[in-house]
Symmetry: C2
Subunit: 161 residues, 2 copies
């Protein structure tokens, strides 16, 4: 019980999914960060998403600081502008894309590559060890719980360290 409570409250991946894990959320972010979309109608048209669902998602994102709601001075229309917090979801989208390219790809090849602006080289996410500098495979990657988190899971008492 305690384990479950803490696990779902504390794990950063779970927390991220709380913010961006609802249906459509990451596709809205994708269209903002990689296609530069800011308008409700553009998100709506490109995703074919029900307007009430889109309204809900965008409002949640504004509340979370993933998007900022501004009024375009020229047109007087609302704009949903991605924030740094939203831009930082790019690696999540790249990781999803890399898995999709490998495992559920279109027979015509990768539809989208991520490129280094300016240099135009393709960019991939490389797991890199900060100690030995090597690039561990997925099998060589394991999770280590912080001491305070271990203590919480074991006994419910906060660590003193």
């Amino acid at each position: 019980m305690l384990g479950r409570l803490y696990e779902s409250e504390i794990c950063s991946a779970a927390r991220t999914l709380e913010v961006a894990g609802e249906r459509w959320s990451l596709l809205i972010v994708r269209n903002a960060v990689f296609a530069g979309m800011t308008r409700f109608t553009d998100f709506q048209r490109s995703l074919g998403i029900a307007p009430n669902v889109l309204t809900k998602r965008l409002n949640e994102f504004v509340a979370e600081g993933v998007f900022e709601l501004r009024v375009d001075p020229a047109s007087g229309k609302d704009e949903y502008v991605i924030t740094q917090k939203g831009l930082d979801l790019k690696p999540v989208i790249v990781a999803l894309t890399e898995w999709g390219d490998k495992w559920v790809a279109d027979s015509r090849g990768k539809p989208i590559s991520y490129v280094h602006d300016g240099c135009t080289g393709t960019v991939s996410l490389v797991p890199t060890c900060t100690k030995c500098g090597s690039h561990p495979t997925n099998r060589q990657l394991r999770a280590r719980l912080a001491r305070w988190f271990q203590d919480l899971r074991n006994g419910g008492a906060a660590t003193k360290a």
Copy 2:
């Protein structure tokens, strides 16, 4: 209309979300790949997820080849064993964790680090340019559509190249 159809069908990130984007899906994978869980009751207890939802998710994962259903010869119990396809979702979970650590972290610090098995150094996903070798920031990362995908979006005709 065509744009939307192709966009949702073709984009690899969207395809990945079709497989692993439902509520609980990535947390089930997380518990399999990083905590080594294989048993229905362990997933159920650790996540506090409704049994009927867990059954649905696991069945979908088995159908997609993310998990393999086996019977443990010793106990005679069902085991949901992660496949290579499932293991390859590790970077998605790491990317979600890194965003969560930065933007919605627990005040006590990172609960979980990812480490290089053996070496024990912490591992992070480093965006790396395959051309110049540098590490683009999120702002320097942009999407490039493959020619065939561009053609599809522009006219609906398949590219000849």
